[in-house]
């Protein structure tokens, strides 16, 4: 079903009006900017209710199948909504893992029962999802995951631990990569992928204090936790392929996400505004030639990212290296955010040294916190260094490191 430009424009007007009317007012506390930063119960319930409201208005999972709670509508409509959410800077959709990678994975590879059981709750935010990939000793080397899943009849017994479990405290389910066979020749063949319940005996979630001083991440400990073998997605021993498919969704290299934005990224326009108020030699910092040059560089980088996604849709302009743009979007975007936030601090002069809580801190210390949190994206989902390896090997065809 293809829609006319007029239909799309009308829809955009409708969406714009809805968000104008319904976007939440200031809750009175500093909101997190991504699902990895949800540290307090107040923040969580506020965001959960907001996602539910957007879903109930019909603006989330619009292109997912109707029978599982989706809208069954064209993706183009969801894209309009997502763009409008970014534009209006409304809070992000907090069930990020469910909406963006667990959900698409289940729709793609799950059984009918799994789709029916899990998809509706992902959209309504009734069922929050978390991810069990990284382990304390195995960060980037995902294929080396050691958490044990030992078969016992039609059950698996889980032992070990997972780390960086965002939303772990609130999650009802986890996507879990575990070792179901320790005796394979190839480490990848011993892995299985599970959709597991979190609220069962033997699973304990312990908060981790982040570099910002706040909470949000957890370490999850598994001690003889028993799950049914119906929790498997994909084949027993086929977990690596499922994990790779999941990462492709996570990195946005493959479409099928429910829509809605998952991170309130900083934009260069906000830093330009900051440069107008910050001072250098008694004058607005924006008059300083060196600062102007840096700002233009950031403006160009930001525009290049949006032009890259526009160009990625034009086959003739990407035919030679079709994965170059999609595979590098996470690397380019996350490093851009880190540097942009860092630059925003440098603009503040001596006040760059204030932190969240001091009343002289710019924007309640948002930039300081945002700079630190930017590392979650340059490290999580495969560090920037790992991304360089992946792009070098899969896009340029360079030998493995």
């Amino acid at each position: 079903m293809s829609l006319s430009k007029q239909e799309l424009d009308e829809f955009r007007t409708e969406v714009r009006a809805w968000f104008d009317e319904n976007k939440p007012t200031d809750p009175g506390f500093l909101l997190p900017q991504s699902f990895m930063e949800v540290g307090t119960d107040d923040q969580f319930y506020f965001l959960r209710d907001w996602q539910r409201k957007v879903y109930e208005a019909g603006y989330l999972g619009m292109a997912w199948p109707k029978e599982y709670g989706g809208g069954g509508k064209p993706q183009a409509l969801q894209d309009i909504v997502t763009r409008e959410m970014v534009r209006q800077k409304v809070p992000f959709m907090t069930n990020t893992i469910g909406l963006n990678w667990a959900g698409p994975l289940i729709l793609n590879m799950g059984t009918e029962e799994q789709k029916k059981a899990y998809i509706p709750g992902i959209l309504s935010a009734d069922d929050i999802w978390c991810q069990g990939f990284s382990e304390p000793d195995h960060g980037s080397d995902l294929g080396n995951a050691q958490l044990k899943a030992t078969r016992d009849g039609n059950e698996f017994v889980l032992n070990g631990s997972k780390i960086w479990t965002s939303l772990g405290k609130h999650a009802k389910y986890m996507i879990l990569l575990a070792r179901s066979n320790a005796n394979t020749n190839n480490k990848y063949e011993g892995l299985s992928f599970f959709l597991i319940p979190m609220r069962i005996p033997g699973i304990e979630v312990v908060p981790i204090r982040k570099l910002t001083g706040e909470y949000g991440f957890n370490q999850t400990f598994f001690t003889d936790a028993r799950i049914s073998d119906t929790c498997l997605i994909g084949k027993e021993g086929g977990g690596w392929q499922v994990a790779m498919a999941t990462l492709a969704f996570e990195r946005g290299a493959v479409g099928g996400q429910a829509g809605g934005h998952s991170m309130m990224s900083k934009e260069v326009a906000e830093v330009v505004a900051l440069a107008r108020t910050a001072q250098r030699n008694g004058r607005p910092a924006i008059e300083d030639p060196q600062i102007r040059d840096r700002l233009v560089q950031f403006i160009m980088e930001e525009r290049a990212q949006s032009l890259n996604s526009a160009r990625a849709k034009i086959k003739a302009l990407t035919s030679e290296r079709p994965f170059s743009i999609p595979m590098s979007a996470k690397l380019v975007g996350s490093e851009y955010q880190r540097r942009l936030n860092q630059f925003a601090l440098s603009l503040q002069g001596a006040n760059a040294a204030y932190y969240v809580g001091d009343d002289l801190a710019y924007d309640r210390g948002l930039w300081q916190r945002s700079y630190f949190n930017a590392f979650s994206a340059t490290i999580g989902g495969g560090t920037s260094e790992i991304q360089h390896n992946i792009i070098g090997e899969r896009v340029l065809g360079l030998p493995k490191s």
Partner: protein, 376 residues
Amino acid sequence: MLDTNKRPTIQFSDEQEQLLEVATSFCLDKFPADRIRARIAAPEDFDKGVWDEMAALGWLGVAVPEEFGGSGLGLAEVVTIVEPMGRALAGAPLVSTTLVAQALLKGGTQAQKNEWLPKICGGAIGALALTEPHGDWNLANLTCKAARQGNKLALSGIKTFVTDAASADLAVVSASLDGRPALVLLDKTALGAAKIEREIVIDETRRSYRLKLDGVTVPAAALLDPAKAGATLAHLEQAACLLLSAEACGGASGVIDVTVEYLKSRKQFEKYIGSYQALKHPTVDALLAMEAARSHLYFAATAIGEGEDGEIAVRMAKAQSSDALAFASDRAIQFHGGFGFTYDCDAQLYRRRGIWCEAQFGDAAHHRRILADMLL
């Protein structure tokens, strides 16, 4: 002003797609690496046979209206020819000839258009003479003069970096007339009266000349429309920046290919050197800079001519592509190790090309400086 709510989009026509495909295979066929090397030592400015083929393909009239014998497309379509040419380091006067046609279209008299545009579409070679010995990128900073002498114009001064001038059938020259910038058309006779001296330039795939205008007189009818001179110069600057961006983008792709090929075939300490992250990661950075440049380029191709938005897009493309080619070719020399230090290694060809492209019509810092005033 900066408006991040406006989402820029790239338009890419069927004509562009076809031209890109044809030009890519044409350049692979006509400009292999050994032929580029041979061209450096060859006596003539460029390969006349290949030029005639390009004319026969209609490439010289791509951005010329049909009434003058062209195909009535635009600069966006020329970009799709120039990018693969840049990738192959092709040396042919297509860019200068296209720019001369642009000068006539934007600021020429009807008589000049009628006479010259059909000839250009048929293969006449155009040379553009805007730069002067002071090297200032401001095209209005003119020391060359045109003085009225009855029904004639007497020209004086020196123009630099006039590519393929010795083979040119016509040239468009900027000079100050009554204290204001003017553009003058030189035909073969007028060019014959000028002193044309070969320059020694960093990009050896180019033939560049100094044009000494003292003693050259042309009929007053050789003057392009004086009322349009300012707008024409501004348009020429943007058109040149767009096509140089295409060349630089193509060059960046080309040199990344050269580097990757070496990293995949050269072994040290019993390992392919491409497996070392110290070489792999910066090569990926070169790729990402090229991709960003290419996105800016095709947006600039979409937007050129659209007032301030178009100018911003073109300057961004020029800035990004200059930096992308500079980085990719600089690292290419380094990553070839000892071989990279030799004349035989192709990395230097691209580095030289990159310096040429940056030096023509403004480098990245120059354009960012102007962008800052437009955006902030």
